[in-house]
Symmetry: C2
Subunit: 195 residues, 2 copies
Amino acid sequence: MCIATTMSKLMPPIENKPNTREAILDAAETVVGRDGSSRLTIDAVVVESGYSKGGVLYHFPNKTALLAAMVDRMVEGITVKIDGARSEAEDKSAPILPAIISAMVHHRKPDTNVSSALLAASAEQPELLDSARDYIEKIVADAVSPAPDPILGLIAFLAMDGLHFSDLLGLHYVDDAQREAVQSRLIQMMTEMYA
Amino acid sequence: MCIATTMSKLMPPIENKPNTREAILDAAETVVGRDGSSRLTIDAVVVESGYSKGGVLYHFPNKTALLAAMVDRMVEGITVKIDGARSEAEDKSAPILPAIISAMVHHRKPDTNVSSALLAASAEQPELLDSARDYIEKIVADAVSPAPDPILGLIAFLAMDGLHFSDLLGLHYVDDAQREAVQSRLIQMMTEMYA
DNA sequence: GCACATAAACCGTCCAGACGGTACAGTCAA
DNA sequence: TTGACTGTACCGTCTGGACGGTTTATGTGC
């Protein structure tokens, strides 16, 4: 009983209904990736998600809230992976940068593009990207700057961003084999940097 | 002959009325850069450019034509610079890749962002990016693939793209000094690749 | 164990405003 | 005369979002 109430109080405050919100955000990403950010309308999300308009607006009271949630989810997702990689590397006294780049590599989702959120937010309300920018700045400050060769670290980050954005805009001028090679080469470069 | 064709290609052939079209395209880029691609409406371009709606629609019969022209102008601008750099390098039997990267560095415009066109097109009609993608593929095939270390060349391209896109989305997590350092480092890397 | 209260989750419609685009009459310099 | 515009009025469609209604889950008093 006590456990039950504790559980029910601890578990669901962040997400009572875990799936609906996520499903709506997934639908929004799908729309952006497929149709372009200007086609990200509430109605499009309604159709894509299968919920009703009222239902979507229940979870996200307005479009700005939806966009903000998209950005937040993206930032949180990457944060978790990168922080995990970083602390794991620190535990093993291993170099941080290869671990982070590797985490960025494996963060890529197959279907919906992770960074659709960036595109959507920049289209409608560029201010929403402030949190993302702050986050990236923090990573650069924490991981790149203290590295033996900060500029090379920055180049690796930028190259990863280049890959993400070419995905994002659908300009896939890098095929899978090249991508693979670029990624392992970047990890190798980061590893050698500490040697 | 060669000079004449070059001149006629650079100066007047496509545009009888040089300034208005360019001014309208500039205004469109400004709107995208400042307000986001979803605010790129014909009326916004009208206000920003100072022309009338009839005037804007006189030059670009519909919004798609405007977007296509934005993409075309961007591609043509970079093409001119890169092709110039490449042929200059070839004349001097110098390596191509450092010249191209250097040209990309200096292509950056101070105020309006060059790649706003990409953002605007991807928002509204991702198909419009086909020509840009074809162009990039061609560069990669012509310049990067034959290089001594194609993957490193690709990394340099991707890093430059990363810089452009961070500009584009207004996530300036790279300050001017870092940018400067990254660029000269990339050129250095490309130069050493041929040694 | 049952009636009831309450809120969360979700549905479907309606509307004002924004948008792309049309139409057209007029201006003005070359 | 013509090309390059201006200015205004207008139309159909799309969009955000307000709103009121309905179902479902949870708990509470008895």
